[in-house]
């Protein structure tokens, strides 16, 4: 029973993949819908990373798109410039792709660390200002690098991403993040959010855990960027402007900060909703905006704020006599 419970999420994810592929084969889902699903999952990953920083650790980063850009451009540079598909035997291509995505994540994480280290030492809104500036600096920097297309955009990126890869990374992100949040490290991050002073007197090195959360959140955004680059086949600096960062913040707070389930729901719903409303043409964004206003009016904590689906909480066996209300 416990084993079944443990593997249920994996089975669920596998079933989801098979279902989507079957519907695609049967012609119920067009490739357009499958593409939207893939975007939704990538947005989920970015939002989950942001949730670790803003939702769980209580900091306020507003430049998440910058880290997606760093990850996307880095991994695209690896697969397009360093090891283009033309010099690789087909069997090696997935491996190169996988490695490039991880490199994108690591580089984004390094950027996160370098930005977080000085700005998280200070209390208050410094991080917000610094991350906002960072997003814009990255965009301007990319424009100055002709090798990755500069202001024209980076084209010719091999389209290695597909549903399987994205489902795997999506599932992996959720699993790793869940493990982190329900570890001693995650509790330290949550303590920083709840009461930084009290966290310090409980022996938590608050600066360290704020920087750690920021680095991990940025790295996840970088990984998502790598997937995105190889899904679109083309990147442009303006894709990653501050409006894109705001999108992720909206996904996060609409879904519920501090809840992984919330991030997944928020990002999925708000990625799909504007597409579903496409038939309204000009009215689309009006309806989208009104939906958000109503959501915040009636559920200010977000769709799933403060709650979590049970499979996202690792179960710990309690000794006999201590089971209590669990």
């Amino acid at each position: 029973m416990d084993t079944l419970r443990k593997y249920l999420p994996i089975l669920g994810l596998a079933a989801f993949y098979v279902l989507v592929m079957a519907l695609r084969k049967a012609g119920v889902l067009t490739s357009y819908y499958v593409q939207i699903l893939m975007f939704a999952m990538i947005n989920c990953m970015v939002t989950l990373g942001l949730n670790l920083i803003n939702g769980f650790t209580g900091q306020f980063s507003i430049g998440q798109a910058g880290f997606v850009a760093v990850g996307g451009y880095t991994s695209a540079a690896v697969t397009t410039l360093l090891l283009p598909s033309s010099v690789l035997v087909p069997a090696l291509r997935p491996l190169v792709f996988l490695v490039s995505v991880f490199i994108g994540g690591i580089v984004a994480g390094i950027f996160g660390y370098l930005i977080g280290k000085p700005s998280l030492r200070l209390k208050g809104d410094y991080l917000a200002i610094v991350t906002l500036a960072f997003g814009e600096i990255i965009r301007s920097l990319i424009r100055l690098i002709p090798q990755v297309g500069g202001p024209r955009g980076f084209s010719g990126i091999p389209r290695y991403s597909n549903l399987l890869w994205i489902v795997l990374f999506f599932g992996g992100t959720i699993w790793v993040l869940r493990n982190y949040i329900y570890s001693s490290f995650g509790r330290a991050c949550i303590a920083c959010r709840e009461d930084e002073l009290a966290a310090g007197t409980m022996g938590v090195d608050t600066t360290k855990y704020k920087v750690m959360a920021f680095t991990i959140g940025s790295a996840i955004a970088g990984v998502a960027g790598g997937l995105l680059a190889h899904l679109l086949g083309y990147l442009h600096p303006d894709q990653f402007n501050y409006l894109k960062s705001i999108d992720f913040l909206v996904y996060l707070y609409a879904g519920g900060a501090g809840s992984m389930t919330g991030s997944i729901m928020g990002a999925t719903l708000l990625t799909i909703l504007p597409e579903m409303l496409r038939f309204l043409s000009g009215w689309r964004l009006v309806i989208y905006g009104i939906a958000l206003v109503f959501l915040m009016l009636f559920r200010p904590q977000g769709i799933y704020g403060g709650k979590e689906l049970p499979f996202l909480i690792p179960k710990i066996r309690r000794p006999e006599g201590y089971e209590g209300g669990q």
Binding site: S183, S184, E194, G200, T201, G203, Y322, G324, G325
Partner: protein, 265 residues
């Protein structure tokens, strides 16, 4: 239990601790020596600088001058979490629990410095992590049980009654495995029965957890009843120090509390 030996090396030796905020000298030349196992009180009128002393003893404020020797090591200049890791724990005058977390999770956070698994095993939730987490859960539940808090283990801290929140804060401080426990007005807002229970709890905690306790309290009866030794602070200066009987009759103390010509009941 044996009485603490007066001859042992002091666990806490505070020398000439001073702090100024701009031109305001909040505490001047505060000196205190606590032998291991002592239960001492720090009293004084409002605004005397008692909490400021606690904030310096936990690294929240950096003293302008002086030394905090804890088990022989000067801790001045170290970050707050280092004080905790070395064995100083505290509670707060205005309760500072992690409000949106359960009582159990509040305690678990306090175990943080004692949990040693690495980041990568945590990401992958290896077997050793699961096992450690199970042990931590058990330790914390046992601690909650000791302090009669077990029924509240899964309740959010913010939903707990006031008295229970105070007790949970003490439990959380104890969960850091301290050698020295600083209690900032533990009896604040309690009724006389609750204060009686608290007095018993504090003496019991000192024995059971083998901690040295320094407490700030306005409730004179409580301090006189349980503390072996009392320091009196007024306007940031220690005006008296000694056994409770001597303190009670010290004219300077009486003056600080009641003005000239006053008398302590």
């Amino acid at each position: 239990m044996t009485t603490p030996q007066e001859t042992s090396r002091p666990i806490l030796d505070v020398r000439n601790l001073s702090i100024a905020f701009g031109g305001l000298k909040a505490v001047t030349n505060f000196t205190l020596s606590l032998p291991e196992g002592e239960l001492a009180g720090l009293i004084g009128p409002n605004g005397a600088g008692k909490t400021t002393v606690f904030n310096m003893l936990t690294g929240i404020y950096a003293p302008t001058e002086g030394e905090i020797l804890f088990r022989g090591e000067n801790l001045v200049g170290k970050p707050t979490h280092d004080y905790t890791i070395r064995g100083i724990a505290r509670t707060f005058q205005n309760i500072r629990l992690f409000k949106n977390l359960s009582a159990l999770d509040n305690i678990k956070i306090a175990r943080h410095p004692r949990i040693t698994y690495g980041l990568v095993p945590a990401f992958l939730r290896s077997r050793s992590v699961t096992e450690t987490e199970r042990q931590v859960e058990e330790e914390c539940l046992v601690l909650l049980e000791k302090l009669n808090l077990l029924p509240f283990a899964d309740t959010l801290a913010t939903n707990l009654p006031y008295g229970i929140q105070r007790r949970l804060e003490i439990a959380r401080a104890l969960a850091t495995s301290p050698k020295l426990l600083l209690l900032d007005e533990p009896a604040a807002g309690m009724n006389p029965q609750e204060v009686d229970t608290l007095a018993d709890s504090i003496t019991w905690i000192r024995k059971e957890f083998q901690v040295t306790i320094l407490l700030i309290e306005h409730h004179m009866q409580l301090v006189m009843e349980i503390c072996n030794r009392i320091s009196v602070l007024n306007f940031g200066v220690t005006i008296a120090e000694g056994q409770s009987e001597d303190i009670k009759n010290d004219p300077k103390v009486i003056e600080a509390y009641l003005g000239k010509g006053g008398k302590v009941a």
